[in-house]
């Protein structure tokens, strides 16, 4: 890897976690490039939601309508999927959504760091969703929550088989939930980086890879928003399962 080849492409370098303050070695408390971009996304969120809507306008301005769009989009989504009871968990789901959305979108800036491309981050988020939702299920329904796995609408003979499938799919949820997001983020960024490497090596022929980068970048802009949406909507679906396990 260290040897310089004709194509000097290091598509995975952009994901390296680098301590940028407090020394060279990475301790658990080191302030890293990842933490920096979390801070930047926090600033952007505050800018959009707090500065943008500081005037409480009746007819929203540009920033305020962006903030309102996101806010009511998630709110309506929760009501649609999990019902009115789901609104109790709105702060958590909305936090999740803007955390992922801003991470994804800011990650598209050149030289930025995409914290949602890390399995540790998405895994942590997905696991917290999984644990929270399971806890809510048991607290709300007691052992009735287990009826989620016992599909009473299926023929009796099939139910044990379905039970196994349902249990497996339930425990796979956090894995698919987290890998879907991290994988999408990582793949898109790596592809852009690979094409950028081609562009660097091809001289005048770089027109083609640059065109490809433009196209992939456009696609990525779609993907980052959709992945944030998918993560949130799946969280809502899981929450709905916990609130109403009886299918």
């Amino acid at each position: 890897m260290e040897k310089q080849s004709a194509f000097n492409i290091h598509p995975m370098d952009q994901f390296i976690i680098d301590p940028i303050l407090m020394g060279e070695s990475l301790e658990w408390y080191s302030f890293t490039n990842q933490a920096l971009w979390m801070l930047i996304s926090l600033a952007c969120i505050s800018f959009v939601f707090i500065y943008g809507s500081r005037k409480h306008q009746l007819v929203p301005g540009r920033l305020q309508s962006v903030a309102e769009l996101m806010y009511f989009f998630i709110r309506d989504m929760i009501i649609d999927i999990a019902g009115q009871e789901g609104l109790r968990y709105f702060p958590y789901i909305f936090t999740l959504f803007i955390l992922i959305l801003f991470g994804n979108v800011l990650g598209l800036l050149p030289y930025s760091f995409t914290y949602t491309s890390h399995i540790a981050i998405t895994g942590f988020l997905a696991l917290s969703v999984f644990i929270t939702v399971t806890a809510i299920g048991f607290i709300k329904n007691g052992f009735g929550f287990l009826s989620l796995f016992w599909i009473s609408s299926a023929p009796l003979a099939l139910r044990p088989i379905l039970l196994i499938i349902e249990v497996i799919s339930y425990f796979v949820r956090p894995v698919s939930h987290s890998i879907r997001l991290a994988g999408n983020m990582m793949a898109g960024h790596a592809v852009i980086k690979v094409f950028a490497g081609f562009a660097g090596a091809l001289g005048l022929g770089a027109v083609a890879p640059i065109f490809a980068i433009t196209a992939v970048y456009g696609l990525e802009m779609l993907v980052v928003v959709i992945q944030a949406y998918v993560f949130t909507i799946l969280t809502c679906v899981y929450l709905n399962d916990a609130l109403h396990p009886g299918h």
């Binding site: 890897m1 390296i16 301790e27 926090l42 409480h56 009511f72 702060p91 540790a120 981050i121 942590f124």
Partner: protein, 158 residues
């Protein structure tokens, strides 16, 4: 392990488990701060904006409903007034028709009286004139008779 000194990744930096405690530490802080911002700044503000808007929209709808009712009322009143005016008009037409007939009859009567008066006046004057002419004829005939007499006698004498 991802190298931090030579700036080149070995494999996937995502699978470098030595970075996990650090990542999760910062993510936890980030999540808590972000949740606090959402809970204490964003949600109250958005709900406030939404409630205000709802209130104004509801107020406007109520006002519109009220105005609509008033318009209905006014329309009904206009309809009533129109009906009243129509019936009044009919009445006036009827009574004025009668009046005109009466007036015509009285006018006819008047004119009859006036003509008869004129006729009698004219007859009177005619009679007067006739009387006057009789006297004049008598006088003339008398004169004539005396002239004749004079002539007869005078010729005899003369």
């Amino acid at each position: 392990m991802a190298s931090t000194s030579d700036n080149s990744a070995v494999g996937m930096p995502q699978l470098d488990f030595s970075t996990f405690p650090n990542q999760i530490f910062w993510l936890a802080i980030f999540c808590i701060v972000l949740f606090a911002i959402v809970k204490f700044f964003i949600i109250p503000r958005m709900e406030d904006i939404f409630a205000n808007r709802r209130k104004i929209i509801d107020g406007n709808i109520a006002k519109a409903e009220e105005i609509r009712l008033r318009v209905d009322e006014i329309e009904k009143k206009i309809e009533e007034e129109l009906q009243k005016a129509k019936s009044q008009c009919d009445e006036i037409m009827n009574t004025s028709g009668l009046n005109i007939k009466e007036q015509m009859a009285s006018a006819l009567e008047d004119s009859k009286i006036a003509t008869s008066q004129l006729i009698s006046e004219a007859e009177g004057r005619l009679k007067e004139l006739r009387d006057g002419s009789e006297i004049a004829i008598e006088k003339i005939s008398e004169e004539l008779a005396s002239d004749i007499m004079k002539k007869i006698t005078g010729e005899k004498q003369g």
